[in-house]
């Protein structure tokens, strides 16, 4: 079980998350996909920490921080989704284009 496995897995997770974020119509699902992407990154980072020769702590610390920030992010995102739902009646991503040029 080499570093490569973890890297590939992390990348796979990240790309699946990306696809989810780009393709799904519901804002909530987009958020979930973002969570997946973050976890993908975490896997790679922790893998590097584990397999690294010199410094195998920093990776972990970064992972911790990623998790904390992810948690905060979900909280905020959900609040926004709620507001969106209340004012628009739906959370379909396609309808949210107030910033159209």
């Amino acid at each position: 079980m080499t570093l490569l496995h973890f890297e590939l897995l992390g990348a796979a997770l990240f790309c699946l998350g990306l696809y989810g974020a780009l393709a799904r119509r519901s804002a909530v699902l987009v958020l979930m996909s973002i969570e997946l992407m973050l976890n993908g990154v975490n896997v790679i980072v922790v893998a590097f920490a584990a397999y690294s020769v010199r410094d195998n702590v920093t990776g972990l610390v970064i992972a911790i921080f990623v998790i904390t920030i992810a948690a905060a992010e979900v909280a905020l995102a959900m609040a926004i989704v709620l507001r969106l739902f209340r004012s628009r009646g739906s959370v379909n991503v396609d309808e949210i284009d107030a910033l159209r040029g």
Partner: protein, 165 residues
């Protein structure tokens, strides 16, 4: 033996991820997410990052998925909404796959150069020491961020009523 565990966990995680991304039913998506996050926690364990595995399960499994579920319930109208991809999903798929291919290629090309077999673990007190010495400042800031996010979430969610009109 570890490899076998790795593959099982990989199966679980990727299956969950694919589930989140493709399922029609949102609640299933939430459960798939739970599975995927659980898989990731397993990986942390494999990499001897026990504290992280625990944190992962605790925070993601416990808090995040629950919040998502609440949001799902609040934003649903009657029956489960059937959400399918919007019309330009093939482009997204192509882009994601392309990105994956590039990343995979990048990793595999020079995998040999630093592909070590040995995994070293980090004792908890070592991790704690590092966390509170070198990384003390970011740690405090992280806590601040959490606080702000908390207050922000409340303000946004609560004030919905007032400026509705």
């Amino acid at each position: 033996m570890a490899l076998a565990v790795f593959y099982v966990l990989a199966l679980v995680t990727l299956g969950g991820a694919i589930g989140v991304v493709t399922t029609r039913n949102i609640v299933h998506a939430a459960l798939f997410l739970l599975a995927a996050l659980g898989g990731v926690a397993g990986f942390f364990a494999l990499l001897y990052a026990e504290f992280l595995a625990l944190a992962q399960v605790l925070i993601y499994g416990g808090a995040v998925v629950i919040v998502i579920l609440f949001a799902l319930m609040l934003t649903r109208r009657g029956e489960l909404e059937l959400m399918d991809e919007h019309k330009r999903w093939p482009l997204a798929a192509a882009v994601s796959f392309g990105l994956f291919a590039v990343m995979a290629a990048a990793f595999t090309i020079d995998a040999a150069s630093y592909n070590a077999e040995v995994r070293t673990s980090v004792s908890l007190d070592a991790l704690g020491a590092v966390l509170f010495e070198r990384w003390a400042a970011p740690f405090e800031i992280a806590s601040l961020v959490l606080l702000v996010a908390l207050i922000g979430a409340i303000v946004i969610a609560r004030s919905g009523g007032r400026d509705e009109g």
